[in-house]
C-alpha cells in the first residue's frame, strides 16, 4: 500500500521568528523543521504500510528556499521519498493556492491508496487545506481521524467528535486528516538518520507541475492581509475589598450584565 503524507516545514516554535511588516506574513527564511502535527500523520502512514506488509510512504511538501530540514526528519523516521515544491512564485500563497500545488504534487508522487494530512498546520491554522486537496483531486475527504484501517478498497476511520467518535468509511484513494496525539511518533534511529541523506527528494517548480504561476502566490491569492497588530494585553480585573458587603457588589455586577 502506498501512502502520501503532506508535511509542512515550519519555523521552530521554540524560536518562532517574526512577522514581516512588508508582506505581513511570517518570516520563513530561518531553518525550518517538521511541523509536529505532521509527525502523527507520518507515523500513522508508516504503521499502515507496515500492517499492509508492503508499499511505501511518500512525503509531499511546499517550502521556500529548497528547504529539506523537516523532510529529512520524516525520511529518517522511515518515509521512502519526497516531492518538494519550492518556487519564489509561491510566496504569499493562500490556503487554496497551497492546495492546488499540493494536489498536483501528490499526483506527481505516484499512485497512492491514501493521502494523509494533519488537521491543520501549527503556524498557519487555516485548517482548510485537506478538504480543498480532496475537492481538487475529486477524492473523498475524511477529517479528524483518530484511527485508520484500510481493508480492500475501503478506508475505515474513527472520526473524532466532541462526544466520542463516528465510524466513517470511504473508497480509496481518499484524503484523511489525522488529529494530533493519536499515535506516538517514533524517534528517528541513527540508521534512519544516515539513510535519510540518500533518499530521493524530487524538487520541482510550479512550472514543472503544469500550474500557471498567476494562480498561486500573491498573484493568485483570494485573500489580502490588510493589517497585522500585536494582540491586546489582557486588562487587569477590578479588585473589590470585602468589607462584609462584597457579595452585594457581585450581585450588582451580575445584574448589570443581565445574568441575574
Amino acid at each position: 500500500m502506498n501512502v502520501v503524507v503532506c508535511v509542512k516545514q515550519i519555523p521552530d516554535p521554540a524560536d518562532p521568528g517574526a512577522l514581516d511588516p512588508n508582506t505581513k506574513t511570517l518570516k520563513r527564511d530561518v531553518k525550518l523543521i517538521l511541523d509536529e502535527s505532521d509527525s502523527y500523520g507520518v507515523e500513522m502512514a508508516l504503521q499502515l504500510v507496515d500492517t499492509a506488509g508492503g508499499g511505501e510512504v511518500t512525503l509531499v511538501s511546499m517550502a521556500p528556499n529548497s528547504e529539506v530540514g523537516g523532510l529529512r526528519t520524516a525520511l529518517a523516521m522511515g518515509a521512502a521519498k519526497a516531492v518538494l515544491v519550492s518556487d519564489e512564485a509561491l510566496a504569499g500563497s493562500d490556503a487554496l493556492g497551497t492546495s492546488k500545488v499540493l494536489a498536483k504534487a501528490i499526483e506527481r508522487a505516484g499512485e497512492a491508496d491514501l493521502i494523509i494530512t494533519a488537521t491543520e498546520s501549527s503556524d498557519g491554522y487555516t485548517g482548510t487545506v485537506p478538504e480543498q486537496i480532496a475537492e481538487l483531486m475529486g477524492l473523498p475527504s475524511i477529517t479528524f481521524a483518530k484511527s485508520i484501517a484500510v481493508e480492500g478498497g475501503t478506508v475505515k476511520v474513527q472520526r473524532q467528535t466532541e462526544a466520542g467518535y463516528d465510524d466513517v468509511e470511504a473508497p480509496t484513494p481518499a484524503v484523511v486528516s489525522v488529529t494530533a496525539g493519536v499515535v506516538e511518533p517514533r524517534y528517528p534511529s541513527f540508521k534512519g538518520i544516515m539513510a535519510a541523506k540518500s533518499k530521493p527528494v524530487d524538487e520541482v517548480t510550479v512550472a514543472d507541475l503544469g500550474i500557471d504561476a498567476s494562480q498561486v502566490g500573491w498573484a493568485g491569492a483570494g485573500q489580502e492581509i490588510l493589517e497585522i497588530a500585536a494582540a491586546e494585553e489582557r486588562e487587569a480585573g477590578t479588585i473589590v475589598e470585602d468589607d462584609g458587603e462584597g457579595f452585594q457588589k457581585i450581585v450588582d455586577y451580575l445584574a448589570e450584565l443581565k445574568v441575574i
Binding site: Y187, S189, K191, I193
Partner: protein, 377 residues
Amino acid sequence: MRFAPTEEQTEFAAATGALLADTCPPSAVAAAWGGEVGRHTGLGDGDGRIRAAWDALVEMGVNGILVPEQQGGLAMSLDHLVGVLEECGYSALPDPVADSAGVVAHSLGQCSDTAPDVGAVNDTLAAVAAGSTVVSGFGSSPLVASATTADTLLMFTRDPTRVDPDAPADPAADRVVLLDRSEVDLEPVESVDGSRALARVRWDAASGACVAQGSAASALTDEAFLVAALADSALLVGLGRAMIDLTVSYVGERKQFGVPVGSFQAVKHHLADAALAVQFAEPLVRNAAHLMSGGVAVEAPGSIPTDSRSVAVSAAKARSSDAAKKVTETALQCHGAIGYTVEADLHLFMKRAWALARSHGDSAFHLKRVRRQLLAG
C-alpha cells in the same frame, strides 16, 4: 584540523536530546534515586535506572555507536559518541550509557580479533548493541556505578589513578576480564548522587572470560581509562549546560525588589562566568574525542611534542571537572535557599556533577598528568 561536529554528529546528538527530553525528565531522575539516600530524601527506592529511556536509546542505536558492524553496531567513532553523551549529561540520565556504549564498546572493539577469549568478547559486543548493560571497573575492589543492575562487568586489574607514575607496576601482571554479575561480590555503597547505584565490586582476576593479559592488557587498560575520563568529561559538559539553563530560567522567574533577580548585574556576571567555563571545556572534550578517534593533532608552533591523546583527555577531564564545580557553586548561589532542597531539580544535576568530577581522576590528578607528560616531552 576540524573538530567541530559534522552535520551527522549534530543530528545524532539532537535526536538523543529530543528522546531524553521526553523519557528522562527530572521527575524520572528523582524516581531513580534509591538506597539510604533515596529513602532519606523521600525521593524513592529506584535502582538508578530509567528503563523507558534506556530501551528507547537502544532502539535508536545509541548503544551500538562504537560496536563493529559484524556485531550489529554502527562502527562509528568517539566523535559521534561525545555529543550523545553531552545530551545524556544534560538530562542527568542515570543509566550507564557512557560505560556500556563508551568504555566497554570501545575496549572490546579494540580486541575483537586478538582477545584470548574472542567468543566472549564478540558475544558481549553484540549484547551491548542489543541493549545489555555492561559496566567497567578499574582495580581489585573498585566502586562501580550501576553495578547492581549490570548484566556483565568488564574488569581491569590496574587502577590508573592509584599507580605511582615513578614506580609503575609490572605491565605483565595486568589482566582484563569479562565477568557475569553472578561471578562478582557486590556491596552497595552510598553515593552523594542517589541515582548512581554505586557498589564496591570484589572480584577474582583468575575467573571470568579473559579479554587481554600482559602487555596487551596494560595497553587496553590505559586506553579504556582515557575513554572513561573522556566520557565523564562529556557528561560533565552536558550537566554544566543543564545547570546554567535551569538557573537562567530560575533567576528570570524569581523576583526581588519588584524585578527578576536575573536582571541584577551580580547575578548576570556570575552566570556569565559559569557559562564561559563550560564553553571553554567543551572544545577540549571535542578535541580529545577527535584525537581518540584517530584524528591528527596540530601542534602549535614551538609546542612540545607529547602523547597528544593522553594529554588531550586529561586536559578535557581537568577543565570539565573544574567547570562543573564552578557551575554547581554558581547555580546553588543563584538559586538561593531553594537550591539546597531536594524538591528543587537542581540537586539532581549538582550531585551527579560532584560524583563525576571525582570519577576516573579528579582535576588535580589530570592536571598532574598533563604536567608530567609535557615535562617528560
